[in-house]
């Protein structure tokens, strides 16, 4: 089995049963509320084979919120190191992606300054629907959309070249 095939097999396994450990690196608490709602009846992430786990040893995916406050870095690294590979790191929320707080003495400003991030989910907070899409992309069940979104509005129909 080549490395790619192994990778694909693992991704397929994660797609069927994924255990998620959450990590708050300094959020305002709203991202956590949306994450809790993933297990609520309206969203029910368990129907998709996703589960929360308190034990990093059992976890496959680390769902990280907050701007990675420097004083928290040790705890963040310990949590990540305690997870056995293969593992996926998902940074979620504007704080974790570098918004809201710039890098300064208090915070790194972005999670990928400390942990190797595989998937980024924007939002403030990302709604449970956005989180579900992000988790689906993380395990390879959903294709990401954002690369092909231009975020432009082009009113002039004569202009043929797309903006991006």
């Amino acid at each position: 089995m080549t490395a790619e095939e192994l990778q694909e097999t693992i991704a397929r396994q994660f797609g069927r049963s994924l255990h998620i450990r959450t990590l708050d690196t300094g959020s305002c608490a709203v991202c956590e509320q949306e994450i809790r709602l993933l297990a609520a009846p309206h969203y029910d992430l368990q129907r998709l084979g996703f589960f929360f786990t308190p034990a990093p040893r059992h976890a496959d995916l680390l769902l990280v919120t907050g701007p990675m406050i420097r004083a928290f870095e040790v705890a963040a690294r310990k949590t990540y190191d305690a997870m056995p590979g293969p593992k996926i790191v998902v940074a979620t929320g504007a704080c974790a992606l570098g918004g809201v707080y710039p890098a300064d003495p208090f915070t790194h400003g972005t999670v990928d300054a400390v942990l190797p991030v595989d998937v980024w989910i924007p939002g403030c907070p990302p709604s449970p629907l956005a989180l579900l899409q992000g988790l689906g992309v993380a395990v390879g069940r959903l294709a990401g959309k954002v690369r092909d979104l231009p975020f432009t509005v082009d009113d002039d129909p004569e202009r043929t070249r797309g903006d991006s």
């Binding site: 690196t25 305002c28 009846p41 704080c95 003495p105 208090f106």
Partner: protein, 504 residues
């Protein structure tokens, strides 16, 4: 220097200068009021870097904010005392509520109570060279906690800050004797984002963006308090319709938080069905928020001078009855489930004396019999229409029933405000210097903000005090003698605070 005796004027904020030698006597005189906050800051002059001015030897002003909670006469008093020699009279012996703030002031300004008693680490992480609001203290806080032995036996262990999935990072220092909690202390400095430091130099409008995120679950209340402080500092009075918009948002915020607290209570007692029912109500309320105000958590509603968005009144009238109906049905079913109620009764009791001594606010205080409710302060959009819900038992069940009563009241108030008319409306603040105090009743209790503006209209000192910053200090009293494994989550859910609000 003679001291004018501070008196509360209903609906107003009156500020009194008190010389340092007179401070102790004044604090004794004011002991009948609630000490709402204590903080230090620059003189509030035109320099945008007041902290630099403070470290250059300019006097640091110690401010105490007192609240009168008596119905019909509610108002605030602020005493301002210039600090000399880096010391001030020990106040927490007279007003126990002040201890946490004394520690915070030491960490940020290096000034301490004259008694020389040990102070704890509260806000700033150890061994970190972080910017402070004033001059750094000469030595680290000594950190003394309550004696940890019960009959010679005690087991101390840390829990957190990484806890179970989906909750904030929070560090508990648990001291137990068997399964009984002997002591519990919390650290939140791993979530300290230095917000008050960041706000320096910002305009109030820009500061609201960060104030929302001090404690996102109280975004409306915290921004309302900060906007009101800026308006008080510059003499602006928002229009009635915009005030009612703020109030509608604040009541919607109260509703969803109480639904979330109910869900957390069910989770803590292991009642999954109840948790699901509460979460259905919570999700419907959040979707109502998105439909009415454009954001599930009501970010971006409050602005200086009023509100940046008016609610979709028809959407609220359409969706609120059904959403609240879900909430009410879940609550009624829970109150009829004996196995659930048994877990709540006589758990986590806080007496009125404890709540008063610690200056607690919100449903936690009201469930112990205190009447503090910021909505009763005359002059706001609530008028006399609010009935503050209280209980006497002070246990988790009392806090739960107070939340349920408040939720019913919130629905009624929203209807009244919508009928009276809501609108958006903001004002550009005049560029004048000044100081002001603002407040709002969050779902957790009184949210306070104080602001000092320079002549360029920018913040020289902003003080954010969400209710969590006050109420966590009651948590260890409520948990004492309770079961460490089964009761602490229940008590935590009944307080429904956030680590973010404490850490800022």
């Amino acid at each position: 220097m003679t001291t004018v005796e501070p008196r509360v004027v209903p609906g107003a904020v009156t500020t009194f200068q008190v010389a340092s030698p007179d401070l102790e006597a004044v604090v004794r005189d004011l002991a009948g009021l609630r000490l709402a906050d204590m903080f230090a800051g620059g003189s509030g002059g035109s320099s945008p870097r007041a902290s630099r001015a403070a470290s250059n030897g300019e006097q640091t002003i110690l401010r105490l904010v007192w609240a009168n909670d008596t119905q019909g006469e509610a108002g605030y008093v602020i005493t301002e005392t210039p600090i000399e020699n880096g010391e001030y009279p020990a106040l927490s012996d007279i007003a126990p509520a002040a201890f946490v703030e004394e520690c915070e002031i030491y960490e940020q300004f290096g000034i301490r109570p004259a008694s020389g008693k040990p102070l704890n680490r509260i806000m700033l992480p150890p061994h970190a060279d972080l910017p402070t609001l004033g001059r750094k203290p000469r030595s680290e806080p000594e950190e003394q906690h309550a004696p940890h032995l019960v009959g010679g036996q005690a087991f101390e262990f840390p829990f957190g800050p990484v806890r179970q999935a989906g909750v904030e990072s929070l560090y508990y220092g648990l001291v137990t004797s068997g399964e009984e909690v002997v002591d519990l202390y919390l650290f939140t400095w791993h979530k300290h984002r230095g917000l008050e430091w960041r706000l320096q130099g910002m305009t109030p409008h820009d500061a609201l963006f960060l104030a929302e995120r001090a404690e996102g679950l109280s975004a409306v209340a915290m921004t309302w308090a900060l906007a009101a402080a800026a308006e008080a500092a510059t003499g602006i009075a928002p229009a009635g319709a915009a005030q009612r918009t703020r109030a509608v948002a604040a009541e919607l915020e109260r509703l969803y938080n109480h639904a979330a607290a109910m869900a957390a209570l069910c989770q803590s007692t292991g009642l999954s069905v109840g948790q699901s029912a509460a979460e259905i109500a919570l999700e419907r309320l959040l979707r109502l928020n998105a439909r009415a105000f454009g954001h599930r958590y009501l970010f971006g509603v409050v602005d200086v001078g009023g509100a940046s968005r008016a609610p979709d009144a028809d959407a609220i009238r359409e969706d609120l009855p059904a959403a609240y109906g879900e909430f009410r049905r879940a609550a009624d079913a829970l109150l009829g489930t004996n196995s659930f109620v048994d877990r709540l009764e006589a758990t986590g009791i806080l007496t009125a004396a404890q709540a008063r001594g610690l200056g607690l606010v919100g449903p936690v205080a009201r469930a112990a019999g205190l009447t503090a409710d910021t909505r009763l302060v005359p002059g706001g959009p609530y008028g006399k229409q609010v009935t503050a819900a209280t209980a006497t038992a002070g246990d988790v069940l009392a806090r739960f029933t107070v939340m349920l009563a408040e939720a019913a009241e919130s629905v009624r108030l929203i209807g009244q405000f919508l009928d009276a008319g809501t609108a958006a409306g903001t004002t550009e603040l005049p560029r004048t210097g000044g100081t002001g105090l603002g407040w709002a009743e969050s779902s957790r209790g009184e949210a306070l903000a104080w602001i000092a503006l320079g002549d360029d209209g920018r913040i020289t000192r902003a003080r954010l005090r969400p209710a969590s910053a006050r109420n966590w200090r009651g948590f260890d009293d409520a948990c004492r003698s309770q079961n460490v494994f089964t009761d602490i989550p229940i008590i935590e859910a009944s307080f429904w605070l956030t680590a973010a609000g404490m850490a800022r």
